[in-house]
């Protein structure tokens, strides 16, 4: 007779010390794991609910903000925690994002400071204003150099001189400015588009095409000799500084307010449009847009690509900011607070984890890109759990209950109402069009894809 029974050694299963992790023995036999499907589904529902529970997108504001609305913003591309902002009263502030305090500030311009950029060598800031000047400021990382512009200074006619390296004089008030990625060249926009060399006092060329005002201008950071501008005549113009001329121009149905180039795909860029949508463009095929981002209920004022090129953030006059995935038409998330006014600036931080927004109320707010994500060190357990939850959410994303929970967002009443009204209007327009189509000869009223509706005309420079 031979008898064997289960006799486990506790040493193999009980942790050796309190501080040690207990050894986990696994047995994947499905009989030991009943209700596998039902439990997995329940876990997916819980993961989705918890995502919404922990969704707290607002992190804080930078210092005390500005005295006037924030209308210009510059990232420092070599650093994650340094940004510069400029406001309507001509004050520029340079911020340390980690401590959320300003490093220094100065009054740069009389009236609005409309353009701001940190030069690629990280040593200076260029700013332009409606006072027809462009100023080059020194960034000093020396902690002794702590010059702050006194906001209580009643003498509005003086501007700061400390740290000012150079002043360039333009012939007209300036609306925007951007610096070349590698060379010492910058471009300004206003009544004309001018190309400047940083070492000269006069613009090196005038690239204007058409007579109207230019409201924004952006250099391509990858294909460095190309830049784009938007004008108040609803035009969207592409330039090449190698030929020293504009290359093509399209007219959209309404004005574009801002441009952002995709950092990963050099030929893709997004524009924020006055018609409440944002558009994605391929500069090689401009006869229609690649995608239309819908959702805002007022003019979109700014747009920015995330460093990965997968997402864009838009800020709108309707006091909300929205995050879109570039391959989707509707926003992934919408952020708002009670006190935030019309947004003029939205920018991703250079590590894509945060979003900055500047608004009419003078505050620069910091938001999380993923509302439920928390920074800080995570245990491997926590990380594994997050990855597992992410996979679960993906797998069950189409289940009606989960989709409803994941999509639900609280919106201010005014936005909700305007959305309803907007939807009604769109439905009515469509209805009207459909009626017209039904009562006219076949093919007379063609279906126009939403993506090509916005393009009115297109011209190439000969």
């Amino acid at each position: 007779m031979k008898i064997k029974t289960i006799s486990r050694s506790a040493d193999a299963y009980v942790p050796a010390a309190n501080t040690r992790e207990a050894p986990l023995s696994r047995n994947m036999n499905p009989e030991l794991h009943p209700f596998e499907r039902a439990r997995e589904y329940t876990r997916a529902v819980n993961a989705t609910k918890l995502e919404r529970v922990f969704a707290q997108p607002f992190v804080g504001t930078l210092g005390d903000g500005h005295r006037d609305g924030v209308y210009a913003f510059a990232k420092n591309f070599s650093s994650v925690n340094k940004v510069a902002t400029a406001s309507g009263d001509g004050v520029i502030k340079y911020w340390d994002v980690t401590s959320r305090d300003q490093t220094f500030s100065f009054k740069a311009h009389y009236g609005m400071c409309s353009g701001l950029v940190v030069s690629p060598n990280q040593e200076s800031i260029l700013s332009c204003g409606v006072d027809k000047t462009i100023k080059l400021w020194k960034i000093n990382n020396d902690s002794d150099y702590n010059q702050n512009y006194d906001i209580n200074n009643k003498n509005e006619t003086t501007t700061s001189t400390t740290g000012l390296l150079k002043t360039y004089l333009a012939d007209f008030s300036l609306m925007a400015l951007d610096h070349h990625q590698t060379d010492d060249i910058f471009v300004t926009a206003g009544a004309n588009i001018n190309l400047w060399d940083i070492n000269r006092n006069k613009p090196i060329s005038n690239l204007s095409w058409g007579a109207d005002n230019i409201s924004s201008v952006k250099f391509n950071k990858t294909e460095t000799s190309i830049f784009a501008s938007t004008g108040s005549d609803n035009s969207l113009i592409l330039y090449d500084i190698r030929t020293n001329s504009p290359t093509q121009k399209i007219k959209t149905s309404m004005r574009n307010n801002a441009i952002s180039w995709n950092p990963m795909e050099a030929f893709i860029f997004a524009t924020a449009n006055e018609d409440q949508n944002s558009y994605l463009w391929d500069m090689r095929y401009m006869d229609k847009s690649l995608n239309v981002f819908k959702g805002h209920v007022n003019a979109v004022m700014d747009v920015d690509f995330s460093p990965t090129g997968k997402e864009i953030v838009t800020g709108s006059y309707d006091k909300t900011l929205r995050i879109f995935q570039t391959n989707k038409g509707h926003s992934r998330d919408v952020y708002h607070t009670k006190r935030m006014q019309h947004i003029f600036i939205t920018k991703f931080s250079t590590d894509s984890k945060y979003i900055f927004s500047g608004s009419d109320d003078g505050n620069v707010r910091i938001w999380r890109t993923k509302a439920n994500e928390r920074s800080g060190p995570k245990s491997s357990k926590k990380r594994a759990k997050e990855e597992y939850d992410e996979k679960l959410k993906q797998r069950y994303a189409d289940m009606p209950e989960i989709r409803r929970i994941a999509r639900h967002r609280h919106l201010p009443l005014s936005i909700k109402k305007s959305t309803d009204i907007k939807n009604e209007q769109i439905a009515s327009i469509k209805h009207r069009e459909e009626n017209r189509r039904n009562h006219s000869k076949e093919g007379e009223v063609p279906y126009v894809p939403e993506r090509s509706k916005t393009v009115v005309g297109r011209v190439h420079k000969q």
Binding site: M1, I6, S7, Y13, L24, M28, N29, F35, E36, Q394
Partner: protein, 521 residues
């Protein structure tokens, strides 16, 4: 190449071409499914990593395993197992029903006369001991050994690990049977009232009260695979219940006479039922078919199935353990044990151990049954070696992942499957039930006509079409149709008798109370 492209572009869904996004999503899902299948294979391959071995008895030559006494077994096993064989002599408060916690570490014994004790049976440390001074019919650990429920004379009470009464569940009247569905956090009670009551113990809500309409419930067991409750009744029927349905999911005629005890194995395929007609029936509960029948010399009291599929039967003072009885008919049991001068009340295998606990009139016995338990546990599911911290974490996790009561169905894998009908063809739950009811009624009418057509009193009872039908469909499953056939058969018999009486000029007795005044004659 062109064919492949074409087939991708025309994935059909009810004749409609899918949109580009739908096709993309379909590809994503397909990829996820593949990953899932790969993981399954990997899991299967991981079996070789399992460290522990199953227990067994190997016999040489003429030795018969069922002749081995516990004393002999104790001599031949290692010391740690031998220590697990013990007896508790509790002559005053029996008979004892017992319950093990899900980890198998703790034992709850409940004497009919109100003696309840919870203890760690391996270490021999007592958690609590209660004298309730009233009848205690059954006791059951809840999600872990920190709480247990006792079915007392009138109500169900819940006690914590120190024996403090924390709840009195007044809705559960006259309970004699208790069970707990751990993944749904449902306490189920049944008893003399003939009602099955589901109580969610995490929220304190009554989830369902189901009227069996079959008199007092005699026995009850849960199907651990799909959480369906099996209730045994005094007419020999076993009914299957889900809290969302007021009618049983299925009815089975298992034996003649009351069903004394039921057990379902852990993968939910087989049910063992012990009848008062001295039978042990093995049922396939996926096909609703009787597989096998064993007889017990006297009425059995208790049956239980271990993780490895051993069946223990307690009858009179005996315990018989059967092995492989789901695979083929066994001539001899695997092991037997006698508890002289006592009556076995409950037998329960200990999870993850080769031990069988037996509660009887004179106390409790712990028997060694090699090969009874699952040797390799999954620490993320149930961990017999869990620490206090792990126990708490498990409890929170279980609560978070609590399943909804309406997820209890006969096939637990139906959740998450795709309803392939088009949205406009899909019905709401209400429409569905209405439609089903109408269809059922239609069929009933039709088959009623069918059946009544066959009532022919002129043929002899042997050749009756109805009897033929019954012979042909001799199944113990009670369906609407079989019940109608039975009724029709009785009606036919009556008509045949009438006809006979008429031929023999026997005056049929008229209703004696034809006239209201007749009773005064």
């Amino acid at each position: 190449m062109s064919e492949i492209v074409d087939s991708q572009n025309t994935i059909k869904n009810g004749g409609n071409k899918l949109s580009a996004t739908a096709r993309k999503r379909q590809r994503q899902l397909k990829k996820m499914d593949n990953e899932y299948e790969e993981a399954l294979e990997e899991a299967q391959r991981a079996e070789i990593l399992l460290t522990e071995e199953q227990g067994f008895i190997e016999t040489d030559g003429m030795e018969k395993s069922w002749r081995f006494s516990q004393d002999e077994i104790v001599k031949n096993v290692d010391i740690s197992t031998a220590n697990k064989r013990f007896e508790l002599k509790l002559n005053d408060y029996g008979p004892y029903t017992i319950d093990y916690s899900r980890t198998g570490r703790d034992l709850l014994i409940c004497g009919k006369k109100g003696h309840v004790a919870s203890f760690d049976w391996r270490l021999g440390t007592l958690h609590t001991e209660l004298h309730l001074n009233e009848t205690a019919n059954a006791a059951k650990y809840l999600q872990n050994s920190q709480m247990f429920a006792v079915a007392q004379k009138k109500y169900v009470y819940i006690y914590d690990h120190e024996g403090t009464e924390i709840h009195k569940l007044k809705q559960h009247l006259d309970p004699t049977l208790l069970d707990f569905l751990p993944y749904h956090y449902l306490l189920v009670s049944a008893g003399k009232s003939g009602w099955l009551r589901y109580h969610d113990i995490s929220t304190g809500e009554m989830v369902g009260a189901l009227r069996t309409k079959l008199g007092p419930t005699v026995s009850m067991a849960q199907n651990p695979w799909n959480a369906v409750m099996h209730a045994g009744h005094s007419n020999g029927q076993v009914t299957l219940w889900s809290p969302g349905m007021s009618t049983p999911l299925a009815k089975m005629q298992v034996c003649r006479g009351p069903v004394r005890s039921i057990a379902v194995n852990r993968d939910g395929r087989y049910m063992a039922a012990l009848g008062a007609d001295k039978t042990l029936k093995i049922w396939d509960i996926r096909k609703f078919e009787e597989l096998d029948s064993y007889s017990t010399p006297t009425q059995g009291n208790s049956v239980h199935i271990s993780d490895s599929g051993l069946v223990s039967v307690g009858w009179g003072p005996h315990v018989t353990i059967w092995k492989d009885c789901f695979k083929s008919h066994q001539k001899h049991p695997y092991l037997t044990h006698l508890i002289p001068g006592s009556q076995v009340q409950t037998t329960k295998f200990v999870p993850f151990e080769d031990i069988l606990g037996v509660g009887h009139n004179n106390g409790f016995s712990s028997l060694i049954v090699p090969g009874a338990g699952e040797s390799n546990f999954d620490a993320l599911e149930i961990n017999p070696y869990e620490t206090k911290k792990m126990r708490r974490e498990t409890e929170v996790r279980m609560l978070m992942n609590k399943l909804k009561p309406d997820m209890i169905t006969l096939d637990p894998n139906v959740i998450g499957t795709v309803d392939r009908r088009k949205p406009h063809e899909r019905l709401t739950a209400k429409e569905q039930s209405e439609k089903e009811a109408a269809a059922l009624e239609d069929e009933e009418n039709k088959s009623r006509d069918d059946v009544e057509k066959f009532i022919k009193p002129e043929t002899s009872s042997k050749n009756s079409a109805l009897r033929k039908f019954k012979r042909k469909h001799r199944k113990n499953l009670i369906t609407e149709r079989s019940m109608r056939v039975q009724k029709a058969l009785e009606r036919e018999k009556e008509l045949r008798q009438q006809k006979k009486d008429l031929e023999n000029n026997i005056q049929r007795k008229k209703d004696e109370l034809e006239n209201a005044f007749d009773r005064f004659k």
